[in-house]
Symmetry: C2
């Protein structure tokens, strides 16, 4: 019996083992059939002086000789643009650029790029990883940096309150010229003026406390002489923000003189004089300085970046559009070479993505814009072509060329003056791009009779679930997270120390045309340390709508078990929310900086319903903890 | 007999008639089979407010519903860019631009576009006719103009020799701003500064006599302060002429103040002060102002333009590349609306074309560059990749993206320091464009052992036969004809009155990289009236090489039966020619202007052989008719 039993067990084990073996065989055959004849390509440091031509040649030859993996012998590899593949690309929230790359990952499936600890140094206007229309792409164990930065840094060494000037020391690392009184930083294949600027505190290696008092400097002012320019007429709407129009009516307001080589004096700044010892960081003209993100991912299903360091980029660390299932684990944006700044725009940014977006164990430090921004796109109904087809206009010049979705995606028709939510839905049949600003969208269904020119479209299928977990977000300009996805969003176990909001949840339609609300948001177990320290009178976590009305914009939010250790009062600012639980949070005063807005409450709520406070601890300095409008009479902070 | 004879004749006639009928039937069947199911599309003036969307829609639908002809009811049609098809295009001798069009004629065969006398008015950055990869395309009976010009004009109303300033009146037609002392002309979707400028004499409606004394104004000067910019290093060659590099080291030198609305004072011009009454014409920065040619034809076999008027374009009237058999009959470039200027660059221009190029019965007036320029392209051997493949670099930034030829074309390998003619030949297998500056060319044959980096390539198959007949070329800036094709070139029965050379035949390799010599050229029965009147010390017909040596550059030229009615002496300037017949020409002095270079001979010849003078009449003012070097001791003017 024992034997029998044993045998019986053995048989079961055997059957199980056979089954597993069978399954494993099927799986490996399946894997093999996918990867059969695919090569593991290994590059060694013999190509390190300019890796571009050899890497590009092999990638362009992948149709004939498929690749499963590209490995680099550990080392430092330079990538120059001169022999790189050139593409004209519209990049969301960047300039539309002619850019070069050594890694055009177009139409790949199941590809791994493994730097094995290597550092890739880029020169000029390049996109290190340009990934399009691919599936299951992994990049790992690599550090990305640029030889010359796309921004510049200078140390404030003196200021003169009588003449309202300040002096800045510029190291040899930042070659410059003075042209007609303008300071121009000249780089390899690039240059910029003082333009967008901000102060860093070198002791904290973070944005200077109360920098809004000093920066931005006023690069531009209004012109005095303009004749008949107002008579230049345009048949169709124009975007006065776009480069061609933005320059009209303004001129340089700053002037710069050189005191001695490496020392310049800056006249005519708008704000207070920057304090001595601070580092002025500048990156030039807003519409020119986002041209070389480190990773650009489009129309790609399955993207993994693991153990990746991005020390710099002339734009974002990663910009993903119309893609799905993007997992960033240990994707770190941090500065190198003693620079104050890592990337010159957001660390990461996701537009019209779906499936899952996960940011885990990441550090996002010292970038010149948000740590992440997850949103869709509003497109404007410009004209109705026939009963199925409309012409749409892209609202913001950095959304030019963006395609809102694919066949059968559900499009919401939105009229924000009436509601933040769609008044009707249609599904896409096809989209024809006519130009950067104008596309024709044909739907499967007839257009509703009440559709009007000026209404907005958003893609209801192109929002992702989002997880941000175990990340450190600090010392950067602007926000931590901008959240605009109605799908499940979890922000968990992170550390925030940002100069503006740690978390901003906006609905806006008049400027960026970034669509999306929040409907299921958990903010749990995070630490907020001295956020909003640059001077704005705003909450650490802030919900915001462009349109001042009582309509519900946000639903079902839980903010639980967080620590707010802030120097100032306002930690939570809420509007137009239906359903908020604020529980088990601890609010203390850090004393790190003097208070900037001591009259603020800790929490401000308006136009909202179903708000609950439970078991929170308040040890801050606010005289009023909770400020609310009349509709929430009985609500109390607990 | 008579009858028989008659019958025989009748039979012959009958047979002939039957044969003709048979042939006609075959031809019409062939024509029918080509044009069966093809539509004649007729647009009427109901679309005239903005013809772009309807015209574009129909053309984009031509695959499904083929078109044989597009007709326009006679009228005035506006074309706006807002709903135009957008393309990023490299255009030879223009900027590389993102441009919009209502007429993307891509992959068409046997298409006629008939304006039936209509005028098409364009707005902003558009290319009216963007023709690519097509066969047998005809455009006829249409006038092209722009609502706002890409250049600006102002009248000189005063000047002050003490302060070295001049005052200019600007009409409402040219809206402007002053930004930081710079005059900026603002247009619909475009703007420019004083930049490239020249004077027009409104009485003659042509370039001002001796304008080189006054223009160009010096928009730019050298900067004084530059630190470490010389340490910015580049691994590969860079083109200091290209926009990114050209701006380094220079700043605006002119300053402009407004005296009253519509009247500005210009300080710090380089030359003499422009005389009162002249019209200053300007078009801004050289690398920004060629962006909207009227016709752009590429990779097209068979192109006819008949009875076409081009009143303006922000670039050339017609630029054709890599095309064949281009016949322009009554293709007229002339200004409209009282403007001094027609197109802001060449009237026509042909790069790498083959078969025949014919310009017949054309008027090319008042454009801001040559009437035509026919040449190929030198590309630079940058690196040798393997025994069949080289990497080539485009020499000039306005040749970016140019593809030198197609499979099996014969490429000459040139080392100009040794010879103006190829030292070896190869045929193309394929070309891979890597980026705007860099392409990989693989040949059918092994590379010769003596091929070196820095050698040049020219396409020996991509030069056309050229006929310029019954044309009027006058009142424009720069030259009449630039000729660089070794195939039969006939210049016959034309009238020239140009401010520089009427005919320039160059070989140059260091700046424009425009390839091609002249080997069979007839210049016959033309009238040259007061050419070279802007001040340059050069011949009316001039042969020129960059490289100063004795090598033969040009062969077999006949200049016969022409009239040179010139105010100044030098009518013919020749170098490095083998075989020149100068016969039956009449040279007189017009007395139109004072002589600028009275010491010049009428004819100057160096480094040349086989020169013949016969039966010419000289009634000019030159003390020496013929100036020559020692090798031509016995040569005499007759």
């Amino acid at each position: 019996m024992t034997l029998f039993k044993k045998n019986k067990k053995s048989s079961v084990k055997l059957i199980l083992a056979s089954t597993l073996l069978f399954l494993a065989t099927i799986l490996s055959i399946s894997w093999l059939s996918q990867n059969v004849n695919k090569q593991v390509v290994v590059f060694n440091t013999s190509i390190s002086e300019d890796a571009t031509p050899k890497v590009l040649e092999r990638i362009l030859n992948a149709d004939a000789k498929p690749i499963s993996e590209i490995k680099f012998e550990k080392g430092t590899y330079h990538f120059y643009p001169d022999k790189g593949l050139e593409k004209f690309v519209h990049i969301s929230n960047h300039n539309d650029v002619i850019v070069r790359t050594a890694m055009p990952i177009f139409n790949f499936k199941n590809l791994i790029i493994d730097g094995q600890g290597s550092t890739f140094i880029y020169h000029g206007r390049m996109i290190p990883f340009l990934i399009d229309n691919s599936n299951n792409i992994t990049v790992k164990n690599v550090t990305v940096d640029w030889a010359d930065s796309f921004h510049s840094e200078g140390k404030i060494v003196a200021n003169d309150t009588t003449k309202h000037t300040f002096d800045m020391e510029i190291s040899e690392e930042y070659p410059y010229e003075i042209r007609n009184g303008q300071l121009i930083f000249v780089k390899e294949y690039y240059e910029h003026h003082l333009g967008q600027s901000i102060l860093f505190d070198p002791k904290r290696k973070g944005i200077t406390f109360d920098t809004e008092k000093y920066t931005p400097l006023n690069q531009f002012g209004k012109i005095e002489i303009s004749r008949n320019v107002d008579k230049v007429s345009y048949k169709y709407p124009v975007d006065k923000l776009e480069p061609e129009f933005r320059i009209i009516g303004r001129e340089n307001a700053l002037t710069v003189e050189e005191i001695k080589p490496g020392l310049v004096r800056i006249h005519n700044t708008k704000g207070d004089l920057p304090p001595v010892g601070n580092i002025l960081v500048c990156k030039g003209e807003q519409h020119e300085n986002r041209l070389a993100p480190a990773f650009r991912v489009t129309h790609t299903y399955g993207f993994n970046a693991t153990n990746v360091n991005v020390h710099h980029a002339g734009g974002m660390g990663l910009i993903a559009e119309n893609s799905a299932d993007l997992i960033l684990d240990s994707f770190n944006v941090t500065p190198s070479n003693g620079r104050m700044v890592s990337t010159t725009a957001d660390a990461t940014h996701f537009v019209g993505c779906r499936g899952k977006v996960e940011l885990k164990n990441c550090t996002f430090n010292n970038q010149l814009d948000d740590a992440t921004n997850v949103h869709g796109t509003y497109q404007i109904v410009q004209d109705i072509k026939d009963e199925f087809t409309i012409g749409v206009r892209m609202g913001h010049f950095q959304q030019q060329g963006f395609v809102i979705g694919k066949a059968n995606d559900t499009i919401g028709l939105v009229r924000l003056s009436n509601s933040f939510f769609p008044y009707n839905k249609l599904t896409i049949k096809n989209i024809k791009k006519i130009n950067s600003r104008y596309q024709l969208i044909t739907f499967n269904e007839k257009l509703p009779a009440d559709l009007e020119e000026g209404d907005l479209l958003e893609n209801l299928d192109a929002y992702p679930e989002l997880l941000v977990e175990n990340c450190t977000i600090s010392n950067n300009r602007a926000r931590g997270l901008l959240l605009s996805s109605p799908r499940k969003t979890v922000i968990k176990n992170n550390f925030f120390s940002t100069e503006m909001e740690a978390i901003l949840i906006p609905i806006e339609s008049g400027h960026w045309y970034e669509s999306g609300s929040v409907e299921n948001l958990e903010i749990v177990n995070n630490t907020f340390q001295d956020c909003q320290h640059s001077g704005f009178n705003r909450g650490v976590i802030r919900f915001d709508t462009d349109d001042d009305n009582q309509n519900t914009a946000f639903k079902n939010v839980a903010i639980t078990n967080n620590v707010f250790n802030q120097f100032d009062n306002l930690i939570l600012q809420v509007t137009n929310i239906d359903g908020l639980l604020f529980e088990n949070n601890t609010i203390t005063n850090s004393g790190t900086f003097p208070q900037l807005h001591p009259k603020n409450p800790a929490i401000r709520i308006s136009h909202s319903n179903n708000i609950k406070f439970r078991k929170n601890t308040y040890k801050g300095k606010a005289k009023t903890i909770l400020e609310k409008d009349d509709s929430l009479k009985s609500l109390k902070f607990k």
